[in-house]
Symmetry: none
Subunit: 252 residues, 2 copies
Amino acid sequence: MSGQGPENGLAFEKGTPRYLQVAQHLQKQIDGGSYPVGTLLPPEADLAESLAVSRHTVRQAIAQLRDRGVLSARKGVGTRVESREDDWRARFGANSRGGLFDFARTTELHFETRSTVEARGALAVDMGVRPGRKFHYLAGPRYYAGDEKPFCVNEVYLDPRLRDVVDGIDVLRVALFTLVENKTGERVKEIQQEVRAIYLPDFVAHHLDREPGALGMRMTRRYIGSGSRLLEYAVQYYPGDTFSYQTTLSST
Amino acid sequence: MSGQGPENGLAFEKGTPRYLQVAQHLQKQIDGGSYPVGTLLPPEADLAESLAVSRHTVRQAIAQLRDRGVLSARKGVGTRVESREDDWRARFGANSRGGLFDFARTTELHFETRSTVEARGALAVDMGVRPGRKFHYLAGPRYYAGDEKPFCVNEVYLDPRLRDVVDGIDVLRVALFTLVENKTGERVKEIQQEVRAIYLPDFVAHHLDREPGALGMRMTRRYIGSGSRLLEYAVQYYPGDTFSYQTTLSST
DNA sequence: TATCCGCATAAGTACGAACATACTAAGAGG
DNA sequence: CCTCTTAGTATGTTCGTACTTATGCGGATA
C-alpha cells in the first residue's frame, strides 16, 4: 500500500509510557502469529519508522520483552522471537527489593477476594507464626499490564493493623510492602522467599487456564519488619509449563 | 575551574563498554564504603559530570546494579544503595528437608556417566549456545556425606577444553567451578540460575526412589567466564516433595 | 498551629545523531 | 572448489538535548 496516511503507527494513549505500549503491541503481534517463534523481528530502525517512534523507544520495548524471555537479540543478526506469551511467558527474576519493586510496577494485581482468616496448621508453619493469629486476606490474579489473561495468581496475608493500606484498592500496581512502609514508617528488614513445585489447586488452575492438578510452582514471601514481626505474607502460583525462577549471581 | 586535567574521571580501557566500567566503579565505591548502604547516590547528572560520561551512560550503569539488587531508584528522590555484593557466593540458598544445603563440603557428587555430547535443540536453547557445540558430559547422583540414598541427580556439561579438571575424579566434594577457576585462572564472571517445576524423568526417579513422573524440580546453572563464554552448564534434579529453593533478601 | 501551594530536585521518558562491533553473505583470488 | 577479503546489515554503545512526573521542602495562608 501506497498509503502514507495514518500509517499503522500506534494510537498512543496518555498515561502509559510509549515503550510499554510498544512492548504490548509487539507482544500481541507475537501472540497473534504475525511474528512466529523462531523468526526475526524487523530491524529496530524499521520498527521505529513503522510505529512512528524513535529507535531508542523501540529498544526499550525490546529490552522489556527480552528479560521476560520473549525475545533475544544478537548483534549483526537481529532480534529473534523465542516464545509466545502463552508458551514461555514468565521468566521471573526478581531477586532483590528493587527487583520486586520493578516487577510490581509492570504488572497489575486485581483483588477479587477479601476476608479475615486465622493462620492454622500448615499455613501457620509456612508463615512462621503462632497458630491462631489473624490476618487480613486478599487474593486475585496478576496481569502483565494490558494483557487479557493473568500469568499468576496471588494471595496476600496482611497484618490486620495494616488493613487500611489496601482498603479501597482494587487494582494494585506497586509493591504492597512499599505501601506498608509508607503508611507505618516501619521498614521491611528482610524478605524470605521460597519456591517449590506443586500441583495447581483448583481455583488457581481455573484462573490460569490449566487443568487442576497440572504442574505448577508456588512462591511464598515473608516480609519481616523491624521487630522480627511478620508484616505481610504473600503466595504466588505460577503455571509450571511456562514459569521458571531465575537468579543471576555476578562477581564484581 | 581549576582542573581541566585528568579529573577524577575514570581511565577507560578499551574493549569493555563504558557503562559496565561505570557500574564496576560504583560497585567498588559501594563495597569500599564510599557510598554506605542506606544512603543516596549523587544525582545522575552529578555522577555523569564527575565521571566524564553522559547521563545516559550513568543510567545504563545504574540499571545494571539495579537488577542485581544493589541499587534502587525513586523518581524525585534519588538512587538508594540497597546492599553490597561482595559475598555473592553466600547467597546460594537451597534447602532440603529443613536442613541447610551447603554445596561445597557437605555433599558428594558421584560421577557415573561420562561422554561427549553435542548441544542441540532445546538443550542448546537452555544452554544459550549455538547448536552443534560440543561438551564433555558427566552425570551422577549427589549424596549428603554419609547418606545411603542420593537427594539429587546432577548433570554437568563442561567446555571440552576444561575436560582434564575432572579426568580421574570419581567423587566430587567441592564446587566444580572452583576447580575450573583454579586450573585455568579464568574466573567465573557470572552464574545464571534457573529453577523450574518438572515431572521427574525415569533415570532421575530411579535414583531418587520416586515414581517416574512424580513432582520434581530442576535447577540449571550457567557458569559464564570472562569472555561471556559458557564454561560449565549444570543441571540438578530434586524430588518435589522434599525440596524447595529459598532466598533471603535483606535490606540492610 | 496546621494546611496548602508552588518551586526546586531528581529520576523517567523520548527524541535525534553518530559511531562501534559482530555477523552474514557475496565476490575476488588462489 | 575452497579460502580470504570486503561490503552491507543490524544490534550495541555513547553522546546530546528536552521535556515529564513524582517527591519533598519551605514559605505563605487560613
